[in-house]
């Protein structure tokens, strides 16, 4: 039997920690199309993702999970729709220390939500920093309804990344159950 693949997309604003997140759990070195940053305005970091990050978790002989990280900079948003095709779910990474990016995070979330009705959650990243906003404040600022999960995250910590991925998968199971009971009712 051919190996089956599924994918989860990790998106979010520039510098929110998407590459770091994938790097923490991927079993291969993240294939990252990073590029040195030259524009002065964006010089808060050395390199940025220009096309995508690509990580892999082998489940067994028949199943592989791919993690795709989107580029954070707006001028690459033409990549988003391509990357979102066929995804199992998506994670919106938000830098909890930079409220100036919340608006964009919300916009990215709305954009992805419109691509496909797949489950998603929000990861409030960099919670290890003293400047991090409270998760519940972020929920309000990002206008997330109480049914949407927002989880504290530290992308550098494998355990935190695992929790985020697991919560997304639990969410997928819940939606499958809900869909099933709806179709049972209909039948």
């Amino acid at each position: 039997m051919q190996t089956q693949t599924v994918k989860i997309v990790v998106t979010g604003p520039f510098n929110s920690g998407k590459t770091e997140f994938i790097r923490s759990v991927s079993e291969i070195d993240v294939v990252s199309t990073e590029k040195k940053i030259t524009a002065e305005a964006e010089k808060i970091k050395e390199s940025t993702t220009v096309a995508m990050d690509f990580g892999r978790i082998t489940v067994d002989d028949d199943l592989v999970l791919f993690l795709f990280g989107t580029p954070g900079q707006k001028r690459f948003d033409f990549m988003w729709e391509i990357l979102s095709e066929g995804m199992l779910g998506f994670i919106v990474m938000v830098d909890s220390t930079r409220p100036e990016t919340f608006k964009e995070a919300r916009s990215i979330l709305e954009t992805f939500r419109a691509y496909a009705p797949t489950p998603y959650l929000v990861a409030a990243n960099k919670q290890d920093s003293i400047d991090a906003w409270d998760v519940e404040d972020m929920r309000v600022a990002l206008r997330l309804d109480p049914s949407i999960k927002i989880l504290p995250c530290v992308a550098k910590k494998k355990s935190a990344v695992k929790t985020v991925l697991l919560e997304l998968l639990y969410g997928i199971l819940e939606e499958m159950d809900a869909a099933q009971s709806r179709s049972d009712e209909g039948a």
Binding site: Q4, T5, V6, V25, I57, T58, V59, D60, L63, L65, E85, G86, M87, L88, R98, P99, E100, T101, F102, K103, E104, R106, S107, E110, T111, R113, A114, A116, P117, T118, P119, I130, D131, A132, W133, D134, E136, D137, V140, A141, R143, D145, P146, K158, K162, L165, L166, L169, Y170, I172, L173, E175, M176, A178, A179, Q180, R182
Partner: protein, 271 residues
Amino acid sequence: MTLKGNLKEFSFIQLLNLINLAKKSGALYIERPDVTCRMIFREGKLAFAELGNEQLPLITILYEAGLISTAQKELLSIRTAAMNEKAAGIFLISANYVDQTQVSTLLMTRFSEVVRKIFAWEDGFFRFEAGELIPDGRIPVHMDLENLIVEGARRLQEIEELKSEIPSLNMALKFTDRPDAEMRNFNLSVEEWRVINYIDPKNTIQQIAAAVKMDEIQIRRVVYTLLQAGLIEIVRPGGMPLRLPEKMFPTQNPDEQKSLVNRLIHRIRSI
């Protein structure tokens, strides 16, 4: 817990929204090189606001509102000279110059003016000091923020900004489940009410726009105002999440799909 930043990136209206919805108590400071604004909130309601140190005596406020005459003002100014605002208020109320509602209303009007001035600030550092109470001797009010938020949201006119707030018109809208959001208390415009009539997870924003004959910018403007007021939220059309998309899984068999997710869970737990 940190709540600080610059208005350039996190606007004043977003802040008010946050304070309102999260029912915060404490002081919001907004600093510019020339002046500092301080607002005190209690459980998400405005209790006090001042810009710089411009404290107007209560007597002057009453006089400007036409509640006392020039002669009374002079006399009362002397009588209350040594009193703080609260003591002066109690004195004026017990001497029947004004009643409590009038005092509250006048202060609320003044505080609203401060809020309106800040709406025009495009930058300024802000920080929120949780738990801070109103200064000693000042009279607190208990003012809902919703109408100020609606007023502020209407000022947002930039098309680019509206597009980034509401990128897709193929999404639908539903009312938020806030038990305290009493629609009647909102000063909504006719356009806003017209859109309200069509809020239903079954209608996309596009369809509502067609029904109320608005163009893409007009409908975004109204939706943005209602969103900011915390009255509605964006949802996927059809109410409940629809069927999961087929391409999500390499197999269409529900049992296999479930087993696949369970295998993923098992694997990730073991990392």
